[in-house]
């Protein structure tokens, strides 16, 4: 699908004059399905589509496009345009929570946070379990710059909707912003249990554990970096460096008892080899900088890392 999207984008950019309707429709549809948020482009093409080719769209698609374009317009601060689309949507679907939340987003965009909050709380009276509106409350606090209240609001949301993966990711990011690493680690544990195949979760989780520090955490972090190495077949440089950094901090000697301990002893060396190879192949000019660092990590110096 991504390839298709690139193709359509290229066609649209190359088109002289007003691009054709079906290309625009296809572009917007692909953006919707892939959840990509390239707002200025979407707003521009959406504007053309809605102004000239409204009749080409089926009833259903028209309003899906309107929602998509309205959000893109708000992102791009094209406020009058956004207002017109939102007004149209609201008159078509009076009383709809989904439409009114667009209205709330408009208030957020123009900075009228009080009105936005009032609107959202109103909608929650109608439907107290509406995920969309609850999440907008979190976004609202973010817009206002109250990270702590945003965190609180998101925690409350996750207390009820404990399986919303994106929400856990967002909460983890927010905790990292306020440097609450333990809670961020908790969130990442949830994410690991959601998508155990996602290597970046392993790397991030290891990053957090490494940052918190302490002997157990260094060991655990190294395991998670190692897992990421396995999942990416050595492709994640961060994981490779991470293994070395953790190993450098692990000072107690491991006795060669079984295959596990042998691997623990061998891992730093193998990792160094792999890293050197990668640099030689992809960035040979950086090799002179990397070699001394690797040597230092290998020899297990703890300070300055």
């Amino acid at each position: 699908m991504e390839i298709e999207l690139e193709e359509v984008e290229r066609q649209l950019r190359g088109a002289k004059g007003v691009p054709s309707a079906d290309k625009l429709i296809r572009y917007l549809r692909l953006m919707r399905e892939l959840h990509i948020r390239d707002s200025p482009t979407v707003a521009r093409y959406g504007n053309i589509l809605l102004r000239h080719y409204k009749s080409h769209l089926s009833e259903e698609e028209l309003w899906a496009v309107s929602e998509q374009v309205a959000i893109a317009a708000l992102d791009s601060h094209a406020l009058p345009f956004a207002a017109s689309v939102i007004t149209a949507t609201n008159s078509r679907f009076p009383g709809s929570i989904r439409a009114q939340r667009l209205q709330g987003m408009y208030f957020e965009a123009v900075g009228e946070y009080g009105k936005a909050e009032a609107m959202y709380r109103d909608l929650l009276v109608q439907d107290p379990a509406n995920e969309m509106v609850l999440k907008r409350l979190v976004a609202l606090e973010r817009s206002r710059g109250n990270l702590t209240s945003a965190i609180e609001a998101l925690r409350k949301y996750l207390d009820t909707f404990a399986n919303d993966k994106d929400a856990w990711e967002e909460l983890a990011e927010m905790y990292l912003e306020v440097q609450n690493y333990r809670q961020a680690a908790f969130c990442y544990e949830e994410l690991l249990m959601h998508v155990p195949g996602n290597s970046s979760f392993y790397v991030r989780y290891a990053d957090i554990l490494y940052t918190i520090g302490g002997p157990t955490n260094y060991k655990t972090a190294r395991s998670y970096y190692a897992k990421a190495i396995e999942l990416t077949a050595g492709g994640s440089l961060r994981a490779l460096f991470g293994v070395l950094a953790c190993s450098a901090h692990i000072t107690d000697k491991v006795a060669l008892q079984d295959s596990r301990s042998r691997a623990q002893i061998e891992l730093p060396e193998v990792t160094t080899q792999a890293l050197l190879r990668i640099y030689k192949q992809h960035a040979p000019d950086k090799l002179p900088f990397v070699e001394p660092i690797l040597a230092k990590l290998q020899s297990g110096l703890g300070h300055g890392l």
Binding site: T160, N163, P196, K227, E230, A263, Q273
Partner: protein, 257 residues
């Protein structure tokens, strides 16, 4: 000698039965359709926040059981304690009412059902009885194509004439035919969901149907608690370093790195 001569039906039959019957059925369906739209308030979002919370908690516990081996042991134990511990989440009494309770205590459910019945099925049944009473015992039309004799009981309710051609049908059969046939036509005209009483009837007749009014949360809590207690934790990453070494060695051997 079945159907050698085509029967000639009286004009009067056509004028006073066929056309009025058709009109009446169409009108009635239209009426029920609009009445349903009028009366159909969106189902009260009986997803109360607390009920959602409990459902989601059960799902999360399931995730914990399924993928808990990817997180460190201490973290797993902490969550297990949270759910299945002495004062854990699943030891409390759930707020979600079981279906029987819900039916008994919530009056809106009954009213809803009554409304659906009244506007949907009653006029149809009434009309069916009227048709049966007034337009009984004669044939009102002929299907333009020949049919196998197995359609006889379906198309000729009330007439026990063995020699009558199967293509002729009585008013009652015609009524039922139109009833089901118009649904398709209506779904074309009104692009939204047409009133689907048969689905409702099907649902009512199916004894195993899980109602939209929730599951037995207390039983699920007990189940999850027991299942969690039974989990034997084994950390997936116990062998992580080994596998990483193997992977790196393999990649380097294959010149991929």
């Amino acid at each position: 000698m079945a159907g050698a001569h085509p029967l000639l039906l009286d004009h009067a039959v056509r004028d006073w039965v066929f056309i009025p019957l058709t009109l009446a059925i169409v009108l009635m369906k239209l009426l029920t359709q609009y009445m349903h739209q009028l009366f159909n308030t969106p189902p009260p979002s009986n997803k109360e926040l607390k009920e959602v919370r409990e459902m989601q908690a059960v799902a999360r516990a399931g995730r914990l059981r399924g993928f808990g081996r990817f997180i460190p042991e201490t973290s797993f134990k902490m969550r297990k304690e949270y759910f299945a511990g002495e004062k854990g989440f699943f030891t409390q009494k759930p707020v979600t009412r079981s279906p029987q309770e819900a039916m008994a205590t919530d009056p809106t459910v009954m009213v809803d059902m009554m409304k659906k019945n009244l506007t949907g099925m009653v006029p149809q049944l009434a009309m069916g009885m009227v048709v049966n009473f007034f337009f009984q015992g004669f044939v009102i039309g002929k299907v333009p194509f020949p049919l196998s004799p197995r359609f006889k009981p379906m198309l000729q309710r009330g007439i026990d004439l063995a020699s009558l051609d199967v293509s002729y049908f009585t008013s009652l059969s015609y009524y039922i035919l139109l009833l089901f046939g118009l649904r398709g036509v209506f779904s074309l005209i009104f692009r939204e969901d047409v009133v689907d009483e048969t689905e409702m009837m099907r649902r009512q007749m199916n004894p195993m149907a899980a109602g939209p009014m929730g599951v037995d949360m207390e039983a699920m809590f007990k189940q999850e608690k027991a299942a969690l207690a039974a989990v034997d934790f084994e950390w997936e990453l116990e062998s992580a370093e080994e596998r990483a070494v193997d992977m790196l060695r393999r990649q380097m051997k294959a010149k991929k790195l």
